[in-house]
């Protein structure tokens, strides 16, 4: 008797399963056809970091304190600055990010007092060589308008 019960309930479960998949067959697709369509990134998306443009001066806000460089667990930031005539504090001359080592932890952004760096929304990062991933953030800031 249990034999027939199992047979009957088993066959019924198979038909129920098939009913579910055929219903899903007629529903619209949920995928985004990526190269032809893209989705906008959320506001807090963590791309690699970039310098923030200061609206007043048109340059960067970095005071070359070096906290980002000290706090980075992977040692991928190199910051250098110099003292210039008539300018208070140091001026940034080099901001190099070695993105091959970055783990997007956010320590740099969090510890930056003047808020000079932020996460970018860049995710299309295919490059031909390892050197393509050593970003010069000053040049990037100048390139942005």
């Amino acid at each position: 008797m249990a034999y027939f019960n199992e047979l009957f309930s088993g066959t019924k479960s198979l038909f129920i399963g098939m009913g579910i998949t055929i219903k899903e067959f007629f529903k619209p697709v949920v995928t985004v056809q990526y190269p032809h369509e893209t989705i906008p990134m959320s506001a807090r998306f963590r791309g690699h970091i970039e310098l923030v443009r200061d609206p007043e001066t048109g340059g960067n806000k970095c005071i070359v304190c070096g906290l980002c460089q000290k706090n980075c667990p992977s040692g991928c930031i190199t910051v250098d600055g110099e003292k210039r005539e008539g300018v208070k504090g140091k001026v940034l001359t080099l901001y190099r990010l070695d993105f091959t080592k970055c783990s997007l932890c956010g320590m740099c952004v969090e510890n930056c007092k003047p808020g000079a760096i932020q996460f970018s929304k860049d995710y299309n990062l295919a490059g031909p060589s390892r050197e393509a991933y050593v970003f010069d953030l000053l040049k990037r800031l100048e390139g942005q308008q």
């Binding site: 479960s13 998949t21 959320s42 807090r44 706090n71 783990s103 997007l104 956010g106």
Partner: protein, 372 residues
């Protein structure tokens, strides 16, 4: 690593379930001595993805280690963040504001549901059913989008800080989570109809791969593996931390100990996590998300501190030994899957290979977490 004398019969041969194999989730090598179709002896060989996280802990400051915790078990990374933050907060004596605690619990439970959905899909994929994986991933995408809007990352989170969380959540997250819970609740019957009640799956899982309570205790297995064998132990209820005592949820326990029991434990856990999230969102208090007096540079007093949390795969423990400087002296990570995997060698003796692979699937292995 051998438990018994290997069967020296001329009938056995050694089959290498190599590091690259579609059924072992990650780089796990299992040396199987087989007699025809039956396994005589199984020896897991680990270490293919050993990345020395514990050594890195000794060379990084306390705050700098947080991203590492997200890389251990990348599918349920927030629980690992939570464990580390708990241990460091216990060491330094920091108090976390209430809103941050609630946000922590909500995001950890969302991450647990995402991890279980992925396990569900990958497990049924191992058994040969290709479709439930994509349905589960559809739901999981919603969770990952929610978590991305809050933390900025989808998989390897680095969201918790000592004394709270990094960012606050906004109303979009709250409405999004509520919608997600409604949607998943309406889809769970579909998963049960398609998979759990399917006669083919029942025949593959029921009474296959029994793991007794005593075997679990001997190997220190925790998490759904333990709860599928009848032992009611969950760190959230029995060694409570954070604001879990405020929530009203059950611990699913099944006594049969076979693969079906472990499967059902995880499916029910998803439902209980949804309950926790609902209650958390309803009770969410206002306030800061970061402790006001959280020190910038941590230098805990000398001592030995331990914290355990209930990760998606078991009880994740972290032991910090501090010597008063700004880097830990020793950081020991107790990986739940390592203990779960060690009972595989004894449990799969005498089974045929597909059943043993189904058993490995129910243990929910993530190899980078074992190898750390």
């Amino acid at each position: 690593m051998s438990l018994d004398v290997i069967d020296k019969s001329l009938e056995t041969f050694v089959l290498n379930l190599g590091p690259q194999h579609p059924a072992t989730h990650g780089v796990l090598r299992v040396k199987l001595t087989m007699d025809g179709e039956y396994i005589v002896h199984a020896e897991p060989v680990l270490g293919y993805i050993h990345r020395m996280h514990e050594k890195m802990g000794e060379n990084r400051t306390w705050a700098q280690f947080m991203p590492n915790t997200g890389r251990l078990d990348y599918l349920a990374a927030l629980s690992y963040n939570h464990g580390y933050a708990l241990a460091a907060e216990r060491a330094e004596g920091i108090e976390v504001p209430e809103r941050a605690e609630y946000i922590r619990c909500i995001t950890v439970e969302l991450n647990r549901i995402a991890s279980h959905l992925l396990w569900f899909g990958a497990f049924v994929l191992d058994l040969g059913g290709f479709t439930p994986l994509l349905y589960a991933f559809d739901d999981r995408e919603q969770i990952l989008d929610l978590l991305e809007s809050v933390t900025g990352a989808r998989l390897t989170f680095c969201y918790f800080r000592f004394g709270g969380v990094y960012n606050d959540i906004d109303d979009n997250f709250i409405t999004g989570s509520r919608e997600f819970i409604k949607r998943l609740r309406s889809r769970m019957p579909m998963y049960h109809d398609l998979v759990s009640k399917n006669i083919i799956l029942i025949k593959r899982l029921k009474d296959i791969g029994p793991i007794s309570q005593e075997m679990c205790r001997r190997y220190g297995a925790t998490g759904p593996v333990l709860r599928g064998s009848g032992v009611n132990f969950d760190v959230r209820k029995h060694e409570p931390y954070s604001v879990y005592p405020e929530f009203d949820f059950d611990i699913p326990v099944y006594t049969e100990g076979d693969s079906m029991a472990r499967y059902m434990v995880r499916m029910d856990e998803m439902e209980q996590s949804m309950r926790i999230i609902e209650q958390g969102l309803a009770k969410l208090p206002e306030g800061p998300v970061m402790a006001a007096k959280a020190p910038k540079i941590l230098k805990p007093a000398k001592g030995d501190y331990y914290a355990a949390v209930e990760a998606a795969r078991g009880s994740f423990g972290i032991r910090l030994v501090s010597d008063g400087t700004n880097t830990p002296y020793r950081l020991k990570l107790r990986s739940p899957t390592f203990s779960n995997l060690s009972l595989f060698s004894e449990a799969c003796r005498g089974m045929i290979l597909p059943d043993a692979l189904a058993l490995m699937g129910t243990l929910d292995l993530v190899i980078p977490e074992i190898d750390r």
